[in-house]
Symmetry: C2
Subunit: 135 residues, 2 copies
DNA sequence: TAATATTTGCAACAATGTTGCAATAAAAAT
DNA sequence: ATTTTTATTGCAACATTGTTGCAAATATTA
Protein backbone atom coordinates (compact mmCIF):
# COMPACT_ATOMS: atom_id res chain seq x y z
CA UNK A 1 0.00 0.00 0.00
CA UNK A 2 1.53 3.22 -1.19
CA UNK A 3 1.41 6.54 0.57
CA UNK A 4 -0.65 8.68 -1.77
CA UNK A 5 -0.03 11.94 0.11
CA UNK A 6 3.75 11.59 0.22
CA UNK A 7 3.79 10.46 -3.40
CA UNK A 8 2.10 13.68 -4.42
CA UNK A 9 4.29 15.78 -2.13
CA UNK A 10 1.47 16.80 0.15
CA UNK A 11 1.94 17.22 3.89
CA UNK A 12 0.43 14.39 5.86
CA UNK A 13 -2.16 15.99 8.08
CA UNK A 14 -4.86 14.19 10.07
CA UNK A 15 -7.54 15.93 8.03
CA UNK A 16 -6.15 14.83 4.68
CA UNK A 17 -5.57 11.29 5.89
CA UNK A 18 -9.16 11.10 7.05
CA UNK A 19 -10.54 12.35 3.74
CA UNK A 20 -8.36 9.88 1.90
CA UNK A 21 -9.55 7.06 4.14
CA UNK A 22 -13.15 7.94 3.34
CA UNK A 23 -12.45 7.72 -0.39
CA UNK A 24 -10.88 4.30 0.15
CA UNK A 25 -13.95 3.14 2.06
CA UNK A 26 -16.16 3.53 -0.97
CA UNK A 27 -16.06 1.55 -4.17
CA UNK A 28 -18.18 4.24 -5.79
CA UNK A 29 -17.66 7.91 -6.45
CA UNK A 30 -18.94 10.21 -3.71
CA UNK A 31 -20.21 13.79 -3.43
CA UNK A 32 -18.99 16.36 -0.92
CA UNK A 33 -22.05 15.70 1.22
CA UNK A 34 -20.92 12.13 1.92
CA UNK A 35 -17.41 13.15 2.91
CA UNK A 36 -18.89 15.86 5.09
CA UNK A 37 -21.10 13.33 6.83
CA UNK A 38 -18.35 10.75 7.29
CA UNK A 39 -15.71 13.08 8.67
CA UNK A 40 -15.34 12.93 12.42
CA UNK A 41 -13.94 16.42 12.49
CA UNK A 42 -15.51 18.37 9.69
CA UNK A 43 -14.62 21.86 8.61
CA UNK A 44 -16.29 23.18 5.49
CA UNK A 45 -13.47 25.44 4.38
CA UNK A 46 -10.71 22.95 4.96
CA UNK A 47 -12.70 20.32 3.09
CA UNK A 48 -13.07 22.60 0.06
CA UNK A 49 -9.35 23.28 0.10
CA UNK A 50 -8.54 19.61 0.51
CA UNK A 51 -10.71 18.60 -2.43
CA UNK A 52 -9.17 21.36 -4.51
CA UNK A 53 -5.61 20.31 -3.83
CA UNK A 54 -6.42 16.62 -4.30
CA UNK A 55 -7.81 17.54 -7.72
CA UNK A 56 -4.78 19.66 -8.56
CA UNK A 57 -2.41 16.87 -7.67
CA UNK A 58 -4.39 14.30 -9.63
CA UNK A 59 -5.17 12.27 -6.55
CA UNK A 60 -8.87 12.36 -7.29
CA UNK A 61 -10.99 13.30 -10.29
CA UNK A 62 -14.27 15.11 -10.57
CA UNK A 63 -17.28 13.50 -12.20
CA UNK A 64 -19.98 15.88 -13.41
CA UNK A 65 -23.10 14.29 -14.76
CA UNK A 66 -26.01 16.18 -16.20
CA UNK A 67 -28.33 17.38 -13.47
CA UNK A 68 -26.17 15.98 -10.68
CA UNK A 69 -23.93 17.75 -8.22
CA UNK A 70 -20.28 16.83 -8.62
CA UNK A 71 -18.93 13.49 -7.45
CA UNK A 72 -15.34 12.61 -6.69
CA UNK A 73 -13.33 9.42 -6.93
CA UNK A 74 -9.73 8.35 -6.43
CA UNK A 75 -7.57 8.22 -9.52
CA UNK A 76 -6.20 4.75 -9.98
CA UNK A 77 -3.71 5.54 -12.68
CA UNK A 78 -1.06 8.22 -12.31
CA UNK A 79 -2.83 11.48 -13.08
CA UNK A 80 -2.32 15.21 -12.84
CA UNK A 81 -4.88 18.00 -12.65
CA UNK A 82 -4.97 18.37 -16.42
CA UNK A 83 -4.09 14.92 -17.72
CA UNK A 84 -6.00 11.87 -16.61
CA UNK A 85 -5.05 8.45 -17.93
CA UNK A 86 -8.29 6.75 -17.15
CA UNK A 87 -9.91 4.52 -19.68
CA UNK A 88 -13.15 4.09 -17.84
CA UNK A 89 -16.77 5.01 -18.11
CA UNK A 90 -18.80 6.86 -15.51
CA UNK A 91 -22.00 5.12 -14.68
CA UNK A 92 -24.97 6.54 -12.83
CA UNK A 93 -27.62 4.12 -11.62
CA UNK A 94 -31.06 5.66 -12.00
CA UNK A 95 -32.37 3.38 -9.27
CA UNK A 96 -29.90 3.55 -6.37
CA UNK A 97 -28.34 6.83 -7.57
CA UNK A 98 -24.81 5.51 -7.22
CA UNK A 99 -22.11 6.93 -9.46
CA UNK A 100 -19.21 4.65 -10.24
CA UNK A 101 -16.12 4.35 -12.38
CA UNK A 102 -16.37 1.27 -14.58
CA UNK A 103 -13.36 -0.19 -16.35
CA UNK A 104 -13.92 -1.26 -19.93
CA UNK A 105 -11.80 -3.47 -22.11
CA UNK A 106 -12.55 -1.65 -25.35
CA UNK A 107 -12.96 2.05 -24.84
CA UNK A 108 -15.04 3.50 -27.71
CA UNK A 109 -13.30 5.81 -30.11
CA UNK A 110 -14.76 8.59 -32.18
CA UNK A 111 -13.76 10.70 -35.15
CA UNK A 112 -15.39 14.01 -35.97
CA UNK A 113 -14.76 15.79 -39.24
CA UNK A 114 -13.48 19.32 -38.55
CA UNK A 115 -12.74 18.64 -34.89
CA UNK A 116 -9.54 17.44 -33.30
CA UNK A 117 -10.55 15.30 -30.36
CA UNK A 118 -8.02 15.11 -27.56
CA UNK A 119 -10.09 13.51 -24.83
CA UNK A 120 -13.30 11.54 -24.64
CA UNK A 121 -15.48 11.22 -21.60
CA UNK A 122 -18.30 8.76 -21.47
CA UNK A 123 -21.15 8.86 -19.03
CA UNK A 124 -23.66 6.11 -19.02
CA UNK A 125 -26.83 5.80 -17.01
CA UNK A 126 -29.07 2.84 -16.38
CA UNK A 127 -29.23 0.06 -13.81
CA UNK A 128 -26.19 -1.04 -11.85
CA UNK A 129 -24.96 -4.48 -10.94
CA UNK A 130 -26.48 -4.75 -7.49
CA UNK A 131 -29.81 -3.23 -8.50
CA UNK A 132 -30.02 -5.75 -11.35
CA UNK A 133 -29.53 -8.61 -8.90
CA UNK A 134 -32.88 -7.67 -7.44
CA UNK A 135 -31.34 -6.42 -4.27
CA UNK B 1 -40.47 28.44 -38.19
CA UNK B 2 -42.46 26.82 -35.42
CA UNK B 3 -43.54 28.47 -32.23
CA UNK B 4 -41.58 26.61 -29.59
CA UNK B 5 -43.38 28.16 -26.64
CA UNK B 6 -46.89 27.42 -27.90
CA UNK B 7 -45.82 23.92 -28.91
CA UNK B 8 -44.75 23.22 -25.36
CA UNK B 9 -47.84 24.89 -23.91
CA UNK B 10 -45.97 27.69 -22.28
CA UNK B 11 -47.38 31.21 -22.08
CA UNK B 12 -45.73 33.57 -24.49
CA UNK B 13 -44.21 36.28 -22.37
CA UNK B 14 -41.69 38.89 -23.51
CA UNK B 15 -39.12 37.48 -21.13
CA UNK B 16 -39.39 33.94 -22.46
CA UNK B 17 -39.37 35.10 -26.05
CA UNK B 18 -36.22 37.06 -25.41
CA UNK B 19 -34.44 34.13 -23.78
CA UNK B 20 -35.46 31.92 -26.67
CA UNK B 21 -34.19 34.47 -29.17
CA UNK B 22 -30.83 34.50 -27.41
CA UNK B 23 -30.56 30.73 -27.72
CA UNK B 24 -31.34 30.99 -31.42
CA UNK B 25 -28.63 33.62 -31.87
CA UNK B 26 -25.93 31.17 -30.88
CA UNK B 27 -24.81 28.11 -32.77
CA UNK B 28 -23.09 26.93 -29.60
CA UNK B 29 -24.30 26.05 -26.14
CA UNK B 30 -24.27 28.92 -23.67
CA UNK B 31 -24.00 29.35 -19.90
CA UNK B 32 -26.36 31.41 -17.75
CA UNK B 33 -23.81 34.23 -17.69
CA UNK B 34 -24.20 34.78 -21.44
CA UNK B 35 -27.97 34.89 -21.33
CA UNK B 36 -27.75 37.26 -18.39
CA UNK B 37 -25.46 39.56 -20.34
CA UNK B 38 -27.53 39.47 -23.53
CA UNK B 39 -30.90 40.10 -21.93
CA UNK B 40 -32.08 43.68 -22.25
CA UNK B 41 -34.27 43.27 -19.22
CA UNK B 42 -32.61 40.84 -16.89
CA UNK B 43 -34.04 39.46 -13.70
CA UNK B 44 -32.06 36.78 -11.94
CA UNK B 45 -34.99 34.97 -10.40
CA UNK B 46 -37.13 34.98 -13.49
CA UNK B 47 -34.18 33.71 -15.51
CA UNK B 48 -33.68 30.77 -13.14
CA UNK B 49 -37.35 29.92 -13.39
CA UNK B 50 -37.32 30.26 -17.15
CA UNK B 51 -34.34 27.94 -17.54
CA UNK B 52 -35.98 25.48 -15.17
CA UNK B 53 -39.23 25.34 -17.08
CA UNK B 54 -37.47 25.20 -20.46
CA UNK B 55 -35.57 22.17 -19.14
CA UNK B 56 -38.73 20.56 -17.79
CA UNK B 57 -40.51 20.98 -21.11
CA UNK B 58 -37.58 19.63 -23.08
CA UNK B 59 -37.07 22.87 -24.92
CA UNK B 60 -33.43 23.02 -23.93
CA UNK B 61 -30.98 20.56 -22.43
CA UNK B 62 -28.23 20.99 -19.89
CA UNK B 63 -24.64 20.17 -20.68
CA UNK B 64 -22.35 19.55 -17.71
CA UNK B 65 -18.72 19.02 -18.47
CA UNK B 66 -16.08 18.29 -15.87
CA UNK B 67 -14.83 21.43 -14.23
CA UNK B 68 -17.20 23.69 -16.18
CA UNK B 69 -20.31 25.46 -15.06
CA UNK B 70 -23.45 24.23 -16.82
CA UNK B 71 -24.19 25.17 -20.40
CA UNK B 72 -27.54 25.09 -22.14
CA UNK B 73 -28.62 24.50 -25.72
CA UNK B 74 -31.86 24.19 -27.62
CA UNK B 75 -33.15 20.69 -28.19
CA UNK B 76 -33.49 20.05 -31.88
CA UNK B 77 -35.40 16.81 -31.65
CA UNK B 78 -38.60 16.46 -29.69
CA UNK B 79 -37.53 16.00 -26.08
CA UNK B 80 -38.95 16.00 -22.59
CA UNK B 81 -37.25 16.68 -19.27
CA UNK B 82 -36.36 13.04 -18.82
CA UNK B 83 -36.06 11.68 -22.33
CA UNK B 84 -33.80 13.30 -24.88
CA UNK B 85 -33.58 11.91 -28.38
CA UNK B 86 -30.29 13.49 -29.29
CA UNK B 87 -27.65 11.48 -31.00
CA UNK B 88 -24.95 14.03 -30.68
CA UNK B 89 -21.70 14.60 -28.89
CA UNK B 90 -20.84 17.54 -26.68
CA UNK B 91 -17.61 19.16 -27.62
CA UNK B 92 -15.59 21.62 -25.59
CA UNK B 93 -12.80 23.50 -27.32
CA UNK B 94 -9.84 23.88 -24.99
CA UNK B 95 -8.71 26.92 -26.95
CA UNK B 96 -11.77 29.15 -27.47
CA UNK B 97 -13.73 27.51 -24.62
CA UNK B 98 -16.84 27.06 -26.77
CA UNK B 99 -19.17 24.20 -25.97
CA UNK B 100 -21.19 22.83 -28.85
CA UNK B 101 -23.50 20.03 -29.84
CA UNK B 102 -22.00 18.04 -32.71
CA UNK B 103 -24.08 15.67 -34.78
CA UNK B 104 -22.44 12.35 -35.58
CA UNK B 105 -23.38 9.79 -38.21
CA UNK B 106 -22.37 6.78 -36.15
CA UNK B 107 -22.98 7.25 -32.48
CA UNK B 108 -20.70 4.90 -30.51
CA UNK B 109 -22.30 2.09 -28.60
CA UNK B 110 -21.08 0.35 -25.50
CA UNK B 111 -21.82 -2.83 -23.60
CA UNK B 112 -20.86 -3.35 -19.97
CA UNK B 113 -21.10 -6.72 -18.30
CA UNK B 114 -23.29 -6.46 -15.20
CA UNK B 115 -24.72 -3.09 -16.15
CA UNK B 116 -27.82 -2.26 -18.12
CA UNK B 117 -27.08 0.91 -20.04
CA UNK B 118 -30.08 3.02 -20.90
CA UNK B 119 -28.41 6.20 -22.03
CA UNK B 120 -24.96 7.21 -23.19
CA UNK B 121 -23.56 10.70 -23.06
CA UNK B 122 -20.35 11.57 -24.78
CA UNK B 123 -18.29 14.61 -24.09
CA UNK B 124 -15.25 15.31 -26.14
CA UNK B 125 -12.67 18.02 -25.75
CA UNK B 126 -10.01 19.25 -28.10
CA UNK B 127 -9.80 21.87 -30.82
CA UNK B 128 -12.85 23.09 -32.65
CA UNK B 129 -13.40 23.78 -36.32
CA UNK B 130 -12.71 27.52 -36.32
CA UNK B 131 -9.71 27.26 -34.01
CA UNK B 132 -8.23 24.61 -36.33
CA UNK B 133 -8.57 26.97 -39.27
CA UNK B 134 -5.91 29.09 -37.64
CA UNK B 135 -8.34 31.80 -36.77
C1' DT C 1 -64.39 42.89 -22.12
C1' DA C 2 -64.52 40.27 -17.92
C1' DA C 3 -62.99 36.20 -15.36
C1' DT C 4 -59.39 33.07 -14.55
C1' DA C 5 -54.91 31.24 -14.61
C1' DT C 6 -50.08 32.08 -14.96
C1' DT C 7 -45.97 34.71 -14.63
C1' DT C 8 -43.18 38.26 -12.75
C1' DG C 9 -40.26 40.64 -9.44
C1' DC C 10 -39.41 41.95 -4.80
C1' DA C 11 -37.84 40.60 -0.27
C1' DA C 12 -35.96 37.41 2.37
C1' DC C 13 -33.57 33.37 2.84
C1' DA C 14 -30.56 29.02 2.01
C1' DA C 15 -26.77 26.80 0.11
C1' DT C 16 -22.35 26.83 -1.90
C1' DG C 17 -17.87 28.55 -2.57
C1' DT C 18 -13.87 32.01 -1.70
C1' DT C 19 -10.28 34.99 0.70
C1' DG C 20 -7.27 37.45 4.36
C1' DC C 21 -5.14 36.46 8.26
C1' DA C 22 -3.43 34.83 12.76
C1' DA C 23 -2.84 30.48 15.29
C1' DT C 24 -1.30 25.92 14.72
C1' DA C 25 0.97 22.00 13.00
C1' DA C 26 4.22 19.61 9.76
C1' DA C 27 8.64 19.33 7.45
C1' DA C 28 13.35 20.62 7.01
C1' DA C 29 17.52 22.20 8.96
C1' DT C 30 20.58 22.57 12.56
C1' DA D 1 16.00 16.72 19.93
C1' DT D 2 15.43 21.55 19.19
C1' DT D 3 14.99 25.20 16.41
C1' DT D 4 13.78 27.29 12.07
C1' DT D 5 11.12 27.40 8.19
C1' DT D 6 7.20 26.30 5.54
C1' DA D 7 2.54 24.82 4.91
C1' DT D 8 -2.07 23.98 6.76
C1' DT D 9 -6.00 25.03 9.52
C1' DG D 10 -10.07 27.48 11.06
C1' DC D 11 -12.30 31.74 12.01
C1' DA D 12 -14.64 35.75 10.28
C1' DA D 13 -16.27 37.97 6.68
C1' DC D 14 -17.65 38.07 2.16
C1' DA D 15 -19.24 36.60 -2.74
C1' DT D 16 -21.86 33.83 -5.69
C1' DT D 17 -25.52 30.84 -6.78
C1' DG D 18 -30.01 29.10 -6.22
C1' DT D 19 -34.80 28.91 -3.82
C1' DT D 20 -39.49 30.33 -1.85
C1' DG D 21 -43.72 33.12 -0.33
C1' DC D 22 -46.44 36.43 -1.89
C1' DA D 23 -48.73 40.46 -4.05
C1' DA D 24 -48.84 42.98 -8.42
C1' DA D 25 -48.82 42.51 -13.27
C1' DT D 26 -49.65 40.10 -17.37
C1' DA D 27 -51.37 36.38 -20.48
C1' DT D 28 -54.96 33.22 -21.60
C1' DT D 29 -59.61 31.71 -21.72
C1' DA D 30 -64.40 32.41 -21.51
MN1 LIG E 1 -13.78 7.87 -12.75
MN1 LIG F 1 -26.49 19.02 -26.97
ZN1 LIG G 1 -28.09 0.83 -8.58
ZN1 LIG H 1 -12.29 26.67 -30.50
Amino acid sequence: MTNLLKDKKLSETPFRKEVLAIFKNYKTAIPMAVIERDLKDYNRITLYRTIKIFLEKGLIHEISMTGESANYALCLSDCSATVHHHQHVHFKCTQCEMVSCVEVTAFPSLQLPDYKIEQLEIQASGICKSCLQGE
